[in-house]
């Protein structure tokens, strides 16, 4: 599996994501700086990491979404390359128009940094194949702007098409319908606020995130 992790000024989960990709695939991802205009050839998976790209100026993810490399990421996504956006990465993907809706300030104002219970809603995607639908998993969140918003019509469409991948099983940030992660129409782009890359080793307190990376690797290796 050939992967890459995009690095913006202010990214701070890029190395964690690289460690997770390498841990399950045995292959180091390429780290790609935001000023690049092209991605390495033959990528199977692109990670858009968490952090505070461009200091969250204007809106979280807004500046990063307009950086040169994101054009290449959008083109790769359109060709079917898998794209995983976590936390700030999710914000970047919505700002870039690769996923619908927007992530707003948490309803309770506070930055939320703790492990939360998630319900796996869709276990049919490449990202969630190692989970059972309806299963509860524990994954950390660490965000200020994780309050998912979309109009009712968009929310109904996401639900109807099985594109809600994860839902919070508890009150976290005021997200519409407790949505924690969504898929794009073709199922090759996932954005989520919780951090699966922070739940891959026993020392992390949970290994529930590891199965996402294992499932992805398994699916991508089978494809080759």
């Amino acid at each position: 599996m050939k992967s890459a992790v995009i690095v913006f000024p202010g990214s701070n989960c890029d190395r964690d994501l690289a460690v997770a990709f390498e841990a399950v695939s045995g292959r180091k991802p390429e780290m790609v700086w935001h000023r690049e205009t092209e991605l390495p050839e033959g990528l199977d998976l692109i990670g858009v990491p968490g952090g505070f790209s461009y200091g969250d100026y204007l809106r979280s993810g807004a500046m990063a979404a307009r950086s040169p490399i994101m054009q290449a990421v959008a083109q790769a996504a359109a060709r079917g390359t898998y794209v995983l956006g976590i936390c700030n990465g999710f914000q970047v993907l919505t700002e870039a128009g690769l996923l619908p809706g927007a992530l707003m300030r948490n309803a309770g104002i506070h930055f939320v940094c703790r492990s939360v219970a998630l319900t796996v809603e869709n276990s049919q995607s490449a990202f969630t194949s190692r989970y059972e639908a309806g299963e509860t998993i524990n994954v950390p969140v660490a965000h200020h702007d994780g309050n998912y918003f979309a109009d009712a019509q968009t929310l109904d469409r996401l639900e109807g098409e099985g594109r809600v991948a994860f839902r919070y099983a508890e009150a976290v940030n005021g997200s519409a319908r407790n949505i924690a992660g969504i898929l794009n129409e073709s199922g090759n782009v996932l954005g989520m606020m919780p951090h699966p890359e922070r739940a891959i080793e026993k020392l992390h307190g949970s290994t529930d995130g590891r199965r996402m990376f294992e499932g992805l690797t398994e699916g991508l290796l089978a494809r080759v």
């Binding site: 204007l58 807004a62 619908p100 809706g101 707003m104 309803a107 309770g108 309050n147 918003f149 005021g174």
Partner: protein, 77 residues
């Protein structure tokens, strides 16, 4: 030439910052504050002759996220 862009949350979109400001005002003893909505003011210094359409494009492409925000452009010459 200068232009001002006012970016505000669409009505119906919850504004937790506005709510917090409202509560703080109440805490200071100000009565009768029915609602507070917080927004952004962006001042642009652009080349003379920049059209309204150009500034509108700037708003749509970057300055506002039209999923959640409205914007209003005010040319100040």
């Amino acid at each position: 030439m200068k232009a001002r862009v006012f970016v505000t949350l669409k009505s119906g979109v919850l504004d937790p910052q506005g709510k917090a400001i409202q509560h703080a005002l109440e805490g200071l003893g100000f009565e009768g504050v029915n609602d507070v909505r917080a927004g952004k003011l962006i001042e642009l210094d652009v080349a003379d002759g920049t059209s309204q359409d150009d500034i509108d494009a700037m708003c749509r492409k970057l300055l506002a996220n039209t999923v959640i925000e409205n914007y209003r452009i005010e040319a100040i010459g």
